[in-house]
């Protein structure tokens, strides 16, 4: 590069000759040079900026393009995955306490249609109706030839149906994979399992959501992928549930009952081993809830948990247990049960107008005297009685893990008068579910501890706070045993299992209020077995039973619920692994005396 000198000699000499200041030339040249330098620096800076801009543009362009492709592409599992365990996205199974499947999933297909791709919509409609008679041909034809671009035809297909649809050969009929909930045991434990249906549906998959029972209660847990497919273990035992439902159904048919319920519960852990409510339904094809009439008439209604009934004389044991606990009486204290007893202007009568006269507390339970327990309740007092029943759990819905349990809220008197106190002592005026009763009896059977019923398998006893002393519990159990050996529940004797229990016969209140029906009853038998070392409580409730073998129809629990419960214990106890204890009758001692 040739640098222009600041003071070119020729121009300087020329300027000197003309008498001008040569410095002006230098300044002029310096100015020109500075301008040139400035222009050069600017163009370089501009070039650099441009370069930077291009680079930034490219970088952001690459990022933007990548984001665009990521957003537009189908999601895909990364091919290189460090962990071996793949995500099991399907809903977890439900199994019984021995691991037998109660609910599982099955892969199936749904059928949908793209009418605009159809070649022969009329024939397709005809063929589809041949395969699925419940579809309307008219409707299909209208949909296939109309403006719709997409429509569901069926949500679930069996493999045979899928093949038949395939054989139609219509390109406008398409299949989408579906995961379907299957209850392999049919109606068994239907009220507990509830049912499932599809939530949000897409072509490629659909959400399976629980609609009732444990399926709904544990919906989030069952769907949680973090479970990795670990099944939900229930406390139910499939075999025992089947045997119990079988016996209950037989009893319900024989005794012409409208409905029936049974609860079998472990008294130490609170595990519900079997819980049945009849009539039942198939959870694979869950019926719709009734839109009119009484909800209790629907097979969906769970009598054992949702149904609140006045459970009658089965409550008497609570009054006597509390009186024993408070030290007011002991089992042999004699109480006068002869009439009249009138409380709040209301006369308390006995069953069939009997009069038992003076009875010991133990005999009040054995003979089921209303006036006897009424007097005990008056001695206890309303406040203490409320506290005791509240502690036993009769004031709140049971904490069972099905959504319907919240619906089983006990009906309590609005004002707890002395009259309520007396009627509640023999089981009228307070409605509760059979499961409440099971929990109450479990507290007596396990030696006086509160226990909450649960549907989940437990590792060990779950005893709550103590509600009564060991001694009270023992004395109450002895009374319950006597009810079976020489009282109202004589049909309840099962050789070898030392059953104890209390019968209850309650008139059904009229639905619209205004007293009770004369010929409609709820019969209950609350039992504990074996009484010398109680392990289980069993509640059997029959709705409107009638025993017709005699000359007069019999409607007391001793004739209806008790034989059913006895048969159930006979069938179920061996399955529970209980060995019958043969009660050897002690022979009259032969004493060696001198001769």
């Amino acid at each position: 590069m040739i640098r222009t000198p600041l003071r070119p000699l020729a121009r300087i000499l020329d300027a000197r000759r003309r008498g001008e200041n040569p410095d002006a030339i230098e300044r002029e040249n310096l100015r020109i040079r500075h301008e040139q330098m400035r222009d050069k620096a600017r163009s370089r800076a501009e070039g650099r900026l441009l370069m930077m801009a291009v680079m930034f543009f490219c970088a952001f362009g690459v990022i933007g393009a990548r984001m665009g492709t990521l957003a537009a592409s189908e999601p895909e599992e990364p091919r290189a995955q460090a962990t071996g365990a793949s995500i099991i996205a399907s809903r977890a199974d439900i199994v019984d306490r021995k691991g037998r499947i109660m609910a599982t999933n099955m892969e199936t297909y749904s059928l949908y249609a793209h009418p605009q791709q159809m070649i022969d919509p009329i024939r397709t409609a005809q063929e589809l109706v041949k395969i699925f008679p419940e579809l309307s041909e008219e409707r299909l034809r209208k949909d296939f030839t109309g403006k719709r671009k997409f429509m569901w035809v069926r949500k679930k297909l069996s493999p045979e149906q899928k093949q038949k649809v395939h054989d139609i050969g219509e390109p406008g009929l398409l299949f989408g994979p579906r995961e379907m909930r299957l209850y392999p045991n049919g109606a068994l434990a239907a009220h507990i399992l509830g049912g499932a249906s599809f939530g949000r549906e897409g072509v490629h998959s659909a959400e399976v959501i629980g609609t009732a029972g444990v399926e709904k209660f544990f919906d989030a847990e069952l769907r949680d992928p973090a479970r990795e497919g670990a099944p939900l273990e229930l406390s139910l035992d499939l075999t025992i549930q089947a045997a119990a439902e079988r016996v209950l159904l037989g009893g319900m048919k024989l005794l012409n009952a409208k409905g029936a319920a049974s609860v079998l519960m472990d008294v130490h852990t609170g595990e519900v081993i079997s819980i049945a409510s009849l009539p039942d339904f198939d959870p694979n094809d869950r019926p719709r809830p009734l839109t009119e009439g009484e909800a209790a008439d629907s097979p969906l209604f769970n009598r054992a948990v949702q149904g609140v009934y006045e459970l009658g004389s089965t409550f008497k044991i609570f009054a006597s247990a509390q009186a024993l606990e408070l030290g007011l009486v002991h089992p042999e204290t004699v109480i006068d049960t002869s009439g009249p007893l009138s409380v709040g202007g209301f006369k308390i009568g006995e069953f069939a107008g009997k009069n038992y006269g003076p009875l010991s507390v133990s005999d009040i339970i054995v003979k089921s005297s209303n006036r006897g327990t009424g007097r005990l309740a008056l001695a206890i007092g309303a406040t203490k009685q409320q506290e005791f029943l509240k502690a036993l759990g009769f004031f709140e819905p049971t904490p069972l893990e099905i959504v319907e349990a919240q619906g089983g809220k006990p009906l309590l008197p609005s004002r707890w008068t002395d009259l309520s106190s007396v009627t509640i002592s023999y089981g009228h005026g307070l409605s509760s579910s059979p499961l409440h009763l099971a929990a109450g009896y479990a507290a007596i059977a396990n030696g006086g501890y509160k226990v909450e019923p649960t549907l989940l398998k437990q590792d060990g006893p779950r005893l709550g706070p103590r509600l009564m002393s060991e001694k009270t519990a023992r004395q109450s159990l002895d009374m319950l045993r006597k009810v079976v050996t020489k009282g109202t529940a004589s049909f309840g004797e099962v050789p070898g299992y030392s059953v104890g229990g209390k019968t209850g016969t309650a008139d059904k209140p009229k639905a619209r209020g205004g007293g009770y029906y004369k010929d409609k009853v709820i019969n209950t038998f609350a039992s504990v077995f074996p009484t010398d070392n109680p392990k289980y409580v069993l509640i059997v409730t029959l709705d409107e039973p009638v025993e017709t073998s005699g000359t007069k129809p019999r409607r007391t629990a001793g004739w209806t619920a008790v034989p059913v419960a006895a048969e159930m214990i006979r069938r179920v106890a061996p399955l529970l692994g209980l060995r019958p204890e043969v009660e050897t009758r002690h022979l009259t001692g032969i004493i060696n005396t001198s001769n």
Partner: protein, 115 residues
């Protein structure tokens, strides 16, 4: 000297490139295998689920009860009853076989006298 260095460098680059391609293809193959295995596991799992469901369906108590009733004359199956419990000492075990007597000694009490 310098040209030798250039040649060596060139060869190293070629070698590294070859190694890199080789590793790349090996990785691709391993990923392909892993994917195939995973697909196999998925299929096996689906098959297992179907088999388990079928097992549960075939073993449902209703069906077993009906089968027991249909085949009652052949199998004679009854529900478990309390009477069927027993104790070990109630079982009559077969008697142990008697030891063979190889050299019998005949004795007779005839003529014996009471002490």
């Amino acid at each position: 000297m310098r040209s030798l260095l250039y040649v060596l460098m060139f060869l190293t680059v070629i070698g590294a490139a070859f190694w890199a391609y080789h590793e790349n293809y090996k990785t691709q193959a391993a990923l392909g295998d892993a994917q195939a295995v995973r697909a196999e596991i998925r299929d096996a799992r689906a098959r297992l689920a179907v088999l388990r469901a079928e097992w549960a369906y075939l073993n449902r108590p209703d069906r077993l009860r009906d089968l027991a009733e249909i085949n009652f004359d052949r199998l004679g199956l009854m529900p478990l009853e309390p009477e069927q419990f027993g104790r070990v000492d109630q079982i009559s075990y077969p008697q142990p076989p008697e030891l063979p007597i190889s050299e019998p000694v005949e004795i007779s009490s005839a003529g014996a006298q009471e002490p």
